[in-house]
Every structure is written in C-alpha cells, then in structure tokens.
C-alpha cells in the first residue's frame, strides 16, 4: 500500500491514526469485525462462483448456429 501522505503526516493526523487504530482493535476484539465480514464474504464467494461459471465453455452452446 502506498499513500500520497504516508511520509508527511501532521501531528493531528498522527493522533487521528492512533485513535483509529484503537477503534479497529476494539472492532476486532469484540467480534464485530467477523460479524460484519461474514455476510459480505458469502456475497463475494457467490459472485466469484458466478464469474467462474460464466467462463466455462459449454460445447453444446458453442455449436449453436448464429444465422439470422
């Protein structure tokens, strides 16, 4: 990861980053992160399955004639 300001943080930004880090630790340790991720992971996995299926070649379909 790289950011436009990764090497140029102000004191305020440092404080904000520290506060965010604390909030994320709480988010993870309380189990809320896993709860938030679970349904999204299901949606993601379902979309990935559909995507992979869409690229499978079906010989019967490929032999259909396009003739209008």
């Amino acid at each position: 990861m790289s950011s436009k300001k990764s090497h140029d943080m102000t004191a305020n930004e440092q404080n904000a980053a520290t506060a965010v880090a604390e909030q994320i630790r709480e988010f993870v340790s309380s189990g809320k992160a896993d709860s938030a991720l679970a349904p999204l992971r299901d949606e993601r996995d379902s979309a990935v399955s559909e995507l992979r299926r869409a690229q499978e070649l079906d010989p019967n379909k490929l032999r259909r004639t396009v003739s209008i």
């Binding site: 790289s2 993870v28 896993d34 999204l40 499978e56 490929l62 259909r64 396009v66 003739s67």
Partner: protein, 502 residues
C-alpha cells in the same frame, strides 16, 4: 465538373439507394421503414450528400470475385459511395472546391464530414461499407471507445471520420456472424496490426476446419459460435468467451474490455410477437461499439459486496447488420439478460427482444489475464473496505470501476489522479510498465479513493499487482490499523496484498 451534390432528405437518400443498387423501390421503402437511418441522420444533423460513382470497394470486389462474377446474371462490380456532410453547399461551390486546393469550403467540408455509405449494386443487401460518425457523448453518458479514425479521399479532398466500419450481410458470402466479425476486425486490425479480411475470407476461414452441416457459400446457415471463435484465432487474435445470461457479468465484461477500444461480439437470441404470441426468431450476432452510463449515485451493489460502475450501464450501442450502425439495445430488468432492440419495425414480428447468450472478445495475445481475476481481487478488497465503512465517510458509498487500459491510456489517465506528496506523477509516468494493464478504481462521488493497477500480461499465479495506491489519508489510516491487528479482516486483505509486486 459533373459531380452530383444533393440536399439531404430521407427521400433523397432513398432515391440514391434505388439508383445505385438493383433493389426495387418497395424493398428500399421496407428497409427504411424502421426509420433507423432517418432518425440517425437527423440526430447527426446531416444536410448534404455528395455522390462518388463509380467507386471500387475492396470488400465488395473480393466478394464479387469469389462469388458474384460466376453467376449467370451479370452483376456490376462497381459500387457508389455516398458522402454525408453537416453543412449545406451546392454542386457549383463543391466543384470549385475540388479544383481549388486553397478553397475555404475545404475546411468546412473537413469539419462537417459525417462519413459515408457504400451502396452495393445488389438486389437486396445493398448497404456496403458504412463509416458514419457515432452519436455525440451527451456530456459523458455515451462512450464509443472502439471508434477509430477512418480516412476518406473524395476527389482529392482529404476527409476523416471517427467511426467503426459497418456493413449489412449479403446472405451469400456473409451472414450476421461474419458481418459482426468483419466490423470487429476493422478495429482490431488497426489496434493490433493484423490483416483486414473481407467477408468472404472470414466465412471461408471460419468454416475451413469446422465445416457447417450445409454449404459455407452461399452462407445461408451463418456460423456457429465455435466457428466465430475459430475465425478470431485465424485473424491472429485470441477469442475470449463469457456467458452473458447474467446482466451484471455482461455489463462488467463489456465495460472492462470495450473501454480499452476492443469491440465485443454479442450473441443473443431474438424473440418477437406474431399474432400476439411471442416466438423464437433465432440466434443473432452484433458488434458492441459503445455503451451508455447515465450519471447518478453509486449503483446498488447487485454483484457481490461491491457497487460496480458497470451496473449503471443502461444501453449498449451495437453494429447490428439488420438495423444499422450504433443501434441501441437497452437493458431490461430480469434474468436471463433481456434487452430491447430496434428490430421488427416493418418486419414480421413486433416488439422484438434480445436475450443475451454470450459475448466473444477478440483479444491480442498479450492480454492474458482475463477480467475476472482482477475483479475477484477487487471484490475482496471492496468487501474489506465495505466492512470498514463505519470508520470513515470516505468509504461510504464507494463505486468501483474496472477496465483494461493500454500503457498510453493509463499514463494519460494518471494526470487525473490526485497529486502525490512528491507533487508530480513523474515516478509513475516513468515507471516501466507492460503494454496492457487492468485498472480498478474505487470512487466516492468524484473523489478517487483507491487505485489498483494489475499487469494484464502476467501469469495468473504471478505477483501481478503493480500499483496499490490509496489516495485518501483517512482510508490509509484505517487500513494500516487493520493490517497491524491480527484478524480475519487483516488476513483477507493480506491475501490480496501478497500479490503486490515487490
């Protein structure tokens, strides 16, 4: 000089088609009944037609020498070419302009050129090579990335139009599949430097190793999807197949590839109403030249946990040889993918609908990573960012956009990226990059939040993410905190970060 110049009207166009083809007035009237050309010329504000006749058309001449010349009936080998302009002028002014290289009208002609239509001297399928300007972009809603600059020379006057060549199938050397391939090859030939096969060459090549059940010429049976893929291979390109029955996947694939100027071959089943009963008409092919993406809020996330910009795509523009160039096909709701068409007006069927079956992309061999791979990684990162949305407003309502880009397109686009701390983009502009890249961008309104740039020429198991750039400092703070805290979120994110090239 005996040059024919006429004020444009649909009647004048119809009369010229009658004059230079062998079609009956009744057939031409029926052909124009759909009002497609009338509406198209009105939308592009055409005012004048200049006729170039006789005109030697390379594709028709190839078809003529391969087929028509051996007919007992004596078909003409020359065509006529009708040039369209968006300014009014008469024959005297035009003739003076032809003779005077410094005439001011030459600039007017160049600026107002809307393209040309070749009229074939045939009894039914009379629209030959057609290079007409596409619709305007309507403030960015319409996009025609496949269009190429096409030069024409009219009696010594150089003209150019940005277009995708189109022609109607003649049902002898080409059915719809061949015509769709022909249009696509006109673009890929220029972009990827391969030869430009004529319709009869495409049909012959496609059927050479995979014969049809019946004869190839006349090509009444069209081509199978497999033969279309074979024709792409024989042109020196790689056919890439995507099932299009799910609209979200069709939209994502079209946005991904067509954005880089690669035309798509859309294959769809047509159904229409006859005596109040909907029936199957058959399988048809058209070349996707562009799309419409209306402005608006981020899409609703119909594909996985993210919102894709492609979800806002409401229309495709296709070269449909039974309708005309840049014909609209609007996405309708429902699954499998249903689309409206401009078919059936004046034909046997009413309310003709298209059900998308699959799409073929003719790809240059170095475009190896399919769009699905960066899309899977985008879905993973998007999923993590959505879970983290409560921590910063920058992550709320993100919309992702995935598209293929050449290195030139990418470098051009870099100038619209937020300025980095180093105050310029020289590091990325001078970075050694491959010719083809996948670019995934997360937008929050007009603000770029994240960009991921993938090497499209790499192997699938490679560390193919070349750039992972977070433009927003609050998002970066959140992600740094996540990666520093062992959790399922961190490990999911790390699975993508492990693909970043070192």
């Amino acid at each position: 000089v005996g040059i024919d110049v006429q004020a444009y009207s649909i009647g004048a166009f119809q009369a010229l088609l009658e004059k230079y083809s062998s079609a009956t007035p009744a057939l031409i009237t029926k052909k124009l009944e759909s009002r497609y050309y009338e509406d198209y010329f009105a939308a592009t504000a055409v005012k004048t037609i200049v006729i170039e006749e006789p005109y030697v058309d390379r594709d028709y001449l190839d078809d003529f020498s391969a087929y028509y010349v051996k007919c007992f009936h004596e078909y003409r080998r020359h065509c006529a070419r009708l040039h369209f302009f968006r300014e009014q002028f008469d024959a005297v002014a035009f003739s003076n302009c032809v003779c005077d290289k410094g005439a001011p009208l030459r600039t007017v002609l160049a600026d107002s050129y809307a393209g040309f239509v070749v009229v074939r001297p045939l009894p039914r399928t009379i629209i030959g090579r057609t290079c007409l300007m596409h619709y305007d972009d309507d403030g960015g809603r319409r996009s025609f990335p496949t269009a190429i600059d096409w030069n024409a020379n009219l009696f010594g006057i150089p003209l150019a139009v940005t277009t995708v060549p189109f022609q109607e199938q003649d049902r002898v050397t080409a059915a719809c599949a061949t015509s769709a391939l022909w249009s696509a090859f006109q673009v890929t030939g220029l972009r990827f430097q391969h030869g430009l096969p004529s319709p009869v060459e495409i049909t012959r090549t496609a059927t050479q190793r995979m014969p049809l059940r019946s004869r190839a010429l006349p090509n009444a049976d069209g081509l199978t999807i497999e033969q279309m893929a074979h024709a792409i291979s024989m042109a020196g390109l790689e056919p890439y197949y995507v099932d299009a029955t799910r609209a979200a996947i069709l939209r994502a694939a079209v946005r991904a590839y067509v954005s880089a100027g690669i035309p798509a071959l859309l294959i769809f089943q047509l159904t229409g109403e006859k005596a109040g009963v909907r029936e199957v008409i058959g399988l048809h092919a058209a070349t996707v030249t562009g799309f419409s993406t209306p402005p608006g809020a981020a899409s609703t996330g119909q594909f996985g946990p993210v919102s894709l910009r492609s979800e806002r795509m409401d229309k495709l523009y296709v070269h449909d040889d039974q309708v005309g160039p840049h014909a609209r096909m609007e996405f309708l709701t429902g699954t499998p993918t249903q689309m409206s068409t401009s078919w059936g007006l004046g034909g046997q069927h009413a309310n003709v609908l298209a059900r998308a079956e699959c799409v073929l992309f003719p790809l240059y061999n170095k475009i190896r990573i399919p769009f699905s791979q960066p899309l899977e990684d985008l879905l993973t990162v998007g999923m993590v960012l959505r879970a983290l949305a409560p921590f910063t407003a920058s992550l709320q309502g993100l919309e992702w956009d995935l598209r293929l880009a050449t290195i030139s397109q990418f470098r051009d686009d870099l100038h619209s990226w937020p300025t980095p701390a180093s105050n310029d983009h020289s590091e990325l502009l001078s970075k050694n990059l491959p010719r083809f890249l996948w670019v995934a961008t997360a937008w929050n309104g007009n603000a770029r939040i994240v960009d991921m740039v993938f090497d499209a020429t790499d192997i699938e198991s490679g560390r193919y993410i070349l750039i992972f750039r977070i433009h927003d400092s609050s998002v970066e703070a959140v992600l740094r905190a996540v990666t520093a805290t062992p959790s399922s979120l961190a490990s999911v994110l790390q699975s993508v970060l492990d693909k970043v090239a070192t």
